[in-house]
Symmetry: C2
Subunit: 395 residues, 2 copies
């Protein structure tokens, strides 16, 4: 998506320079359909559509075997075209983490959205009400004051939302602490106008990245037990709980067959990254690397060293340096704002100045959030450019 | 900057839901001039204009005392209005790290730009040539093949650029390794059409974050010696070197008086972050925290714990968790995509549900690159919203 500035020049340009007032410089398109990888301007976020669709089918098949719905988490990609493909291949809808994040998805035609988060603040609640007039919307809550404000806003806007009470199943982030508290809030939801109690959310982000499959399996069993205790408390109180939402890419193989979840909400499964790839997947379902950064070697300044034009402004680095593909004896050793440094013991095996290289991101979600578009390829040819319309929408 | 999607619904909406085809949902403005902090929708990147301008004046005074020019690095903020303010207060121009990054600045009227990086690739060189027809442009180089391609492109576009040979002064990233090699490339520049040899770039990013002022001072002396050796070699070769560009926020106090730099290129000095604040500034120039993240407490789920709606999609976290302001006995202990978790031993001192809190970013450059706008305040009232127009422009 070419960006252009419409800010006007505050003064006349100097002699010999063209006017920018009437002819702003425009950043050209990064690629056009039909381009080979060599023609994509870098850094680029590239999605291999065949592998992406294979990942969607892999999860869908697992979920369907157990009668569990897939509600794909759109925080991973922030791209409506990705969500529409997920829905076309069987997802019942999407999750978003923030209210504003959901806006481009609803505008693109997504009709079933769960905000997997507590929503606090007048502007956010107003926007949530607008969305609820365009789509089926559910939202999480863990506090009576927040529920009251949610209901008040929906009354003003003549809108209605479903509510999931978030249960803290061990992550120690948001969510209520005890089954009794869930029952109490569920009763409050039932008593408040324009709110519909739909169920609970039970998600534990920390489990996703436990390296051993056995450790994840054991931890998921503990989560399932906690969910069962909540469901039993709701049943004793005579409160129906049609939705139990949770699970992520790292635990979906255990969450889906657990019998407690009606829907799972993974995001990274569609793309993968090196952090998830470092998990031991054992005999469980596994996903393919479908997304990578394409970079160009911009400097070969010294023996054994090359520098690529992909930095932490194109590949989020809080989970580590990206991993170089295709060059088995060359390592990406460090990353800064706009550079990744490659090392090799043998200069001859380094990619040459100007060569294109592929790097796997360490964390796909915030990496998508750095890019205005994803370059979609099939058989290494550009098929489409998909705008990441929810990029930056964290409100 | 409100975002809206113009992607059309692929199908008719379901019964009971309004059409989004003709009335897309719009994310409302984050704030309007005159708002107090309490009215800014969160997460927000907030710039205190008084402290920002104080930082600009502090550096400008130091530089002017020593007759050194300030060429502010726009990679830190990617915001043309920030650059225009830096130039209004004395900067001779700006640096950009990427060619595309420079586009909105040139369109906004900035007339003197140094690309502090090697530029490799046809699309990037074409764009550089377009920029060079609108502004004085200098670019770095460290390879004969890249210089030839640069000259060839400028010939095609009838444009001209200044060239700085980048010297590796110890960072082990880009840059040539020896004074002889600098001379060789300078001669090549002089021989190539449409290129003008302007001097050298000598920047060492790693030194910026050495914690001890003494260690930074010592390291800067080593850099200055290396620069002197390059200057001597150029002089012996009869090559004039009008520009020596380098230095960053952490070392500017030593680079400016060193006598070797004609201009310094710091970026973070205007904003600061907790990583730079962790430096020992000793008796040297020091800068104030002028930028912070504004967040809202969205959950208070358990004793001693509160959760804020600022995550690593709003505050780049590869240099650590942001630091909470204003609550001396409360710590920000962890960050995930859209959450920061606060801990306190005493629940009573935690900010309440719905309260606004301020967090200092650990690394300001990639944090600006997450935001579409910066909310500018003076005396805690919104004065302006400045679009971060070069956000995401890493090509």
């Amino acid at each position: 998506m070419p960006k252009e500035s419409t800010v006007r020049s505050p003064e006349l340009p100097e002699n010999g320079h063209e006017m920018s007032r009437d002819h702003p410089v425009v950043v050209p398109a990064q690629a056009v359909p039909g381009d080979t990888l060599d023609h994509i301007d870098t850094p680029a976020l590239v999605l291999d559509l065949d592998l992406f669709e294979e990942n969607l089918r892999t999860l869908q098949a697992l979920a369907e075997r157990h009668g569990v719905a897939v509600r794909a988490h759109a925080k991973a990609h922030k791209c409506p075209q990705v969500a529409l493909r997920q829905i076309a291949l069987g997802a019942v809808g999407i999750c978003c983490q923030k209210v504003s994040e959901a806006v481009p998805f609803v505008n693109a035609g997504v009709r079933d959205v769960l905000i997997t988060n507590e929503v606090v603040g007048g502007q956010k609640l107003d926007l949530l009400a607008h969305l609820a007039r365009h789509a089926h919307v559910m939202v999480c809550a863990d506090h009576p004051t927040a529920l009251q404000a949610l209901s008040d806003t929906m009354v003003v806007h003549k809108a209605s939302v479903g509510v999931l009470i978030e249960v803290d199943v061990g992550q120690k982030r948001c969510g209520v602490q005890t089954p009794d508290h869930v029952v109490e809030l569920a009763r409050q939801v039932q008593a408040l106008p324009q709110l519909v109690f739909r169920g609970i959310q039970a998600y534990h982000g920390g489990l996703q990245h436990k390296r051993s499959a056995q450790a994840r399996e054991h931890a998921c069993a503990t989560v399932a037990d906690r969910v069962r205790r909540v469901l039993a408390a709701l049943q004793r109180a005579g409160i129906e709980c049609p939705v139990v939402s949770g699970g992520g890419t790292g635990t979906v193989a255990f969450d889906v067959p657990s019998g407690v979840f009606t829907e799972v909400q993974p995001g990274s499964y569609a793309f993968m990254d090196t952090d998830y790839a470092a998990n031991d997947w054992g005999e469980t379902v596994a996903f393919r690397h479908a997304v990578y950064l394409l970079g160009t070697v911009m400097s070969t300044p010294a023996p054994g060293r090359a520098v690529v034009d992909v930095g932490l402004k194109s590949a989020s680095a809080e989970s580590g340096v990206p991993t170089l593909l295709d060059c088995p004896d060359v390592q990406a050793v460090s990353i800064s704002d706009e550079h990744t440094v490659l090392h090799a013991n043998d200069t001859a095996i380094l990619p040459a100045l100007g060569a294109k290289v592929r790097l796997l991101p360490s964390h796909c979600d915030p990496t998508f959030n750095l890019h205005d578009q994803v370059v979609c390829v099939r058989n290494n040819k550009v098929e489409a450019l998909w705008p990441v319309l929810a990029r930056g929408l964290s409100r």
